[in-house]
Assembly symmetry: C2
Homo-oligomer: 434 residues x 2
């Protein structure tokens, strides 16, 4: 029987359903193997070979979930900002990304995982190229991830076919790998980068492989207009007709949506990964999060890549989500703190089709994050959910477990060599620029 | 002659005028007494009694400036969030504040200063009551502050008179105190909380004492409408007629402004303290920062109090300022990173009428902040201004000097007893709730 970990004398936030989930309480948590065995106010009897952790001064909560990103693009953080989207893409992002090798993807992904882990994210969605490198990196880091080969279909048919085959091979190879920490999805990049018949092939493959679909959708007003001009319908109806929503589906962004489109998403159980930081920085607009949630659409949070954010701290997206919808609507009750925190934890897990992740409950996977709540910005002692959302950040994270394994201890990553990753990321960027 | 401090082998950002000010360079900085003696790329010869600091892995920049807040209200952080403004004020803030004693103000202010210092703020504007306590606390902490007794005039004439006298006595007593670190201003709280004739008395006093004026203005649409209904003009014209702009003046918020009002502010050199976090959280709206800056109005950044923010980290306001105006306008070039950083440093200092603070230049006051730029979110090495604004936060601050004195070393505050301040803040809140 594997060793048990016992966290005693800590404060806990389960994020389980109902008001109790967002009410912090003093208590104990035990985990064994990859699961939480017990969590509650009562103490437990400690056995001689238990690993006992003193939880004083710490708040324990579920690991955060980042539902949209491109980890490898961390190499491009700060390469260029504050220019028009076209200049940014055409003069900076695309020419540099075209030079990306498998080694650059590994270096960028390792840097991204280091940043995510240290700021409390245990699960992430990743859409990129050279995905075998990403999957191997996830296996090493100990994180949980839903990985997908994002395919742009603006190319000849034989190249399209090769990319689709690669996406299928990757999805089959890695689904359920790394003790189940890795799952996969099919990912046509976006309606504006994939011809309709090519998107239909992804839907077909997703049905055959019984996999979900992840794609970008309605990020900018321009792409929505162009979709309507090219196909006679806006992106939501376009994707619906292509059968994309006949699979479990998560769309990234969903900034420009009509009431009718929101109803279609709700009807088909399509999730929306809200990326407030990236949407603001690229001036794409502000998603209708309140309307989406009112219609019953599941909304989670994503950072997008560090090239457009420019960080991977989900706490910052949680705070943005809690702030901007109030400011824009004039309603200070919009997206309350507890809802924003759910979007970054349990709603994120459900959006990635993970039902045993995202809350601290007996029987759930042991993805646990410890927060130092002794810092001045967590004082005085009041509502810890409010403090986390409005005053906290990923910098307050001290310890992280994923799948029952400790990955961060006292702000140091145990599975990743921090100095080496930083050096390799810088070396990889120099090679790209050479 | 006082001992010299020499920081060698560091990276520096001066924030001086022109493109050079936002271009980081490797070099050396020396300070003696309360001033910077030298900053430049060249090394200096070190004398035996110099204090020499190895700047490797650190970025040194001017201390941040917070141009609007109510420090003592840190005691109310997280007391209540996500309710309507009226419920928040009438049921939570005002009843609790009514019980504030001089001791509560001291406890809350100490907590606020601890948070500000550790996140790199060296100068702050503070408007509150029991200001002698605040001034004494600033003297102890070693910070720089522009302090003002914020007066609400919804009371009988004799009480008004007593408050005005107290504000005058405070402003005279403390202006220039603490080796010049403390300056003062006259502060009628807002046009909607002070009758016109009472505001006029503050203007008169400000002229007599040769002091600037600080006030809240046009924070919510409702107060603007009510001002127009009560006095026939919107707040800007109302304050102009009362002579408020005949003094150097800084208004907080300025969310709801017409083009004509912006022109009046520009014409009279009135500064606007932009408080994006608080304005979003209270659903007040989004200030027209791009229009203000284009019209030549000096815009700086404030956190407002921790009751409505709920943190005092100016880096977060810098990031919000750089993000939200892009998202709302659809223009990704709005408020570029360098401009946002200027708003949080040199523009903040100028907004508080401090001409020898806010940049790292020889002869300026030695208010210096060190940032750990080895962390993953500062990688790869690229534009440090971009990294600071879009990826950084106050948690990256490791060391702080103000007026040439080291206040924070290795993330520990040297002038303030952290554990005691945290304990006293919690005790003060318990007394308020009792």
């Amino acid at each position: 029987m594997t060793k048990r970990t016992v966290i005693r004398g800590g404060t806990f936030l389960t994020m389980a359903e109902g008001a109790e989930g967002t009410t912090a309480f003093a208590g104990t948590l035990t985990m064994r193997g990859d699961r939480i065995e017990y969590i509650g106010a009562a103490d437990v009897e400690v056995a001689p070979d238990d690993e006992v952790i003193d939880g004083a001064g710490k708040l324990y909560m579920p690991g955060l979930v980042n539902t949209h990103g491109h980890a490898a693009m961390s190499l491009l953080r700060g390469l260029k900002d504050d220019v028009s989207l076209q200049v940014w893409l055409q003069e900076y992002m695309w020419p540099t990304e075209a030079k990306f090798t498998a080694a650059s993807v590994r270096a960028g992904t390792m840097l991204a995982m280091l940043e995510m882990l240290k700021s409390g994210t245990t699960t992430f969605m990743d859409m990129y190229d050279h995905m075998d490198q990403v999957a191997e990196a996830v296996e090493e880091a100990g994180m949980r991830a839903c990985l997908n080969r994002g395919v742009i279909g603006l190319c000849p048919e034989d190249v399209q076919r090769a990319k689709l085959d690669e996406a299928i091979r990757f999805a089959k190879t890695w689904n359920g790998a790394a003790d189940g920490r890795i799952t996969t999805a099919m990912a046509p990049h976006a309606p504006y980068t994939c011809p309709p018949e090519f998107i239909a092939k992804f839907v077909e493959a997703a049905h055959e492989l019984n996999l979900p679909i992840h794609t970008h959708m309605s990020e900018t007003a321009r792409e929505v207009e162009e979709n309507a001009a090219a196909y006679g319908v806006r992106p939501v109806e376009h994707l619906r007709r292509l059968g994309v929503f006949s699979r479990p589906c998560l769309v990234a962004h969903g900034v420009h949506l009509t009431d009718e489109e929101i109803d279609i998403l709700a009807e088909h159980g399509v999730g929306v990964s809200h990326n407030p930081g990236s949407n603001l920085k690229l001036a794409s607009g502000i998603a209708r999060v309140t309307a989406l949630r009112q219609a019953g659409v599941r909304v989670s949070l994503g950072t997008d890549s560090a090239a457009s954010n420019n960080n991977l701290d989900i706490f910052r997206e949680i705070r943005l989500a809690a702030l901007i919808h109030k400011g824009v609507s004039g309603d200070p009750t919009a997206v309350p703190a507890g809802d924003a925190l759910r979007m970054g934890t349990v709603e994120g897990a459900r959006s990635l089709w993970l039902n045993d992740v995202g809350t601290l409950e007996a029987g759930m996977k042991a993805d646990v994050v410890a927060i130092d709540v002794t810092a001045p910005h967590y004082q005085p002692e009041a509502d810890l959910v409010s403090h986390l959302v409005y005053a906290g950040s990923g910098s307050d994270v001290t310890d992280v477990w994923a799948n029952g394994k400790r990955l961060v201890r006292g702000r140091r990553c145990l599975t990743l060599d921090e100095e080496r990753i930083v050096a390799e990321a810088n070396a990889a960027l120099r090679r790209l620029k050479a």
